[in-house]
Point group: C2
Chain length 280, copies 2
Amino acid sequence: MKVAVIGVGLIGGSLALKLREKNFANEFIGIDKSENHLQEALELGIIDKAENLENGVKNADLIIVAIPVDATVKILPQVLDLISENQTVMDVGSTKSGIVAAIKNHSKRHRYVAFHPMWGTENSGPKSAQKESFSGRAAVICDKEDSAEDAFSLVEKVANTLEMNTIFMASEAHDIHTAYISHISHITSYALANTVLEKEREEDTIFQLASSGFSSTVRLAKSHPEMWVPIFKQNKENVLDVLNEHITQLRKFKAALEKENYELLEDLIRNANKIRGILK
Amino acid sequence: MKVAVIGVGLIGGSLALKLREKNFANEFIGIDKSENHLQEALELGIIDKAENLENGVKNADLIIVAIPVDATVKILPQVLDLISENQTVMDVGSTKSGIVAAIKNHSKRHRYVAFHPMWGTENSGPKSAQKESFSGRAAVICDKEDSAEDAFSLVEKVANTLEMNTIFMASEAHDIHTAYISHISHITSYALANTVLEKEREEDTIFQLASSGFSSTVRLAKSHPEMWVPIFKQNKENVLDVLNEHITQLRKFKAALEKENYELLEDLIRNANKIRGILK
């Protein structure tokens, strides 16, 4: 088994490290537009060799596309053009409807499996790759009926090798759920960082006082626009729905405070506390 | 040295555990309205004995008030009534102006030191106390000029024993900074939890999909209203200022998405990324 990883960054690198350790394949080929990242990935033992897109794809049994979702939409048809019926392609994008739509009518559509591992950090690049990132987390496979059985089985084996819990979903449902579970958290975190940066001019004070609560809430605000603008763009309608609801919820806190209605404030907090029963 | 801790919960318990380990005192007396908490604190080795308010306070050199800020405002004058010129009182509240105002004209005001250790979790009660919670974090002492020199020195020694970095501030400045650095994070987290609970009816999906990003952003939403309603109440004006700014910032993200202005969206994200240079 040979695996080609397109994009040897945080996600692609982390996947490769774990799959290597588990002897999932005997060769890992790296493909990346950044020569620096390829060099780093070689030095870190993430890949065995670097190739260009055409050679890398042609020589692999499994091709993992792990680049921003706008680039995935562009490269996926090219990758499918290059492969035979014995090869399988998967991606790891945080949106699915736009990616699936881009290859809907491609003659090799069935060789592609839409995959999303629910893990990430605010960091990027091969140096931030972590072998144990995925273990115990959810892996979503979308629209499985559109993939060939052997292609699906191979990607399911990837998920099992990564020690993830596989769940199945239509790509539209996936994009609604990720708007709630992942995309909105990033927007609130960015907006919170901008709030503090706008109003709190004393940067030393931020640094000195920042409590663990603040740090964990704004951690995601360190995430790069190269990854997140394309996600928000592709999932615009769902993200806007959730964002509107979030602003409505914040206004309730504002109204409770302005009107000094502390019973309402307590009700709002008690309702939020229900998340305790859902998220351990 | 004898220390009395009023409120043997998360903060009081954590303080006592660390001070004990460092042999700061030879007796730790627990005072708490909850008999269960006192029993747990005894079993966990947080305190040596339990006392009622009057006996506990009278027998201690240092009294640490570690209860919600509304209860602190009520109990602090009573504690000052009970003590002599050889005793010192400190609190740990997340607001300061209201607490300081409550004892402004008390004849023993100078025996009190306004203290705020910048640490907390979403949990409560003696069982959630952690010995190493405070190490390396900021400890704010407010209005130090209003405390007697020996009282101030004793509390500074507490901060050093906890291995905290002490910083000094007026109580009004403290309340502005904590509105940004701590209080707003809790409101956004509560509102985010309510958003998800409102719109995402499939609780199993939340649980299965929840990524590390979501979990860290909504972690604070598990925090109890008994602690947080009084904080928001006492710091209402500052919290409202920051909340209004935060809603304004969220509206910018909304406008960028609605107008499909992805350059603006990228600018907003790049600005938020500046937090990377401030928060390591």
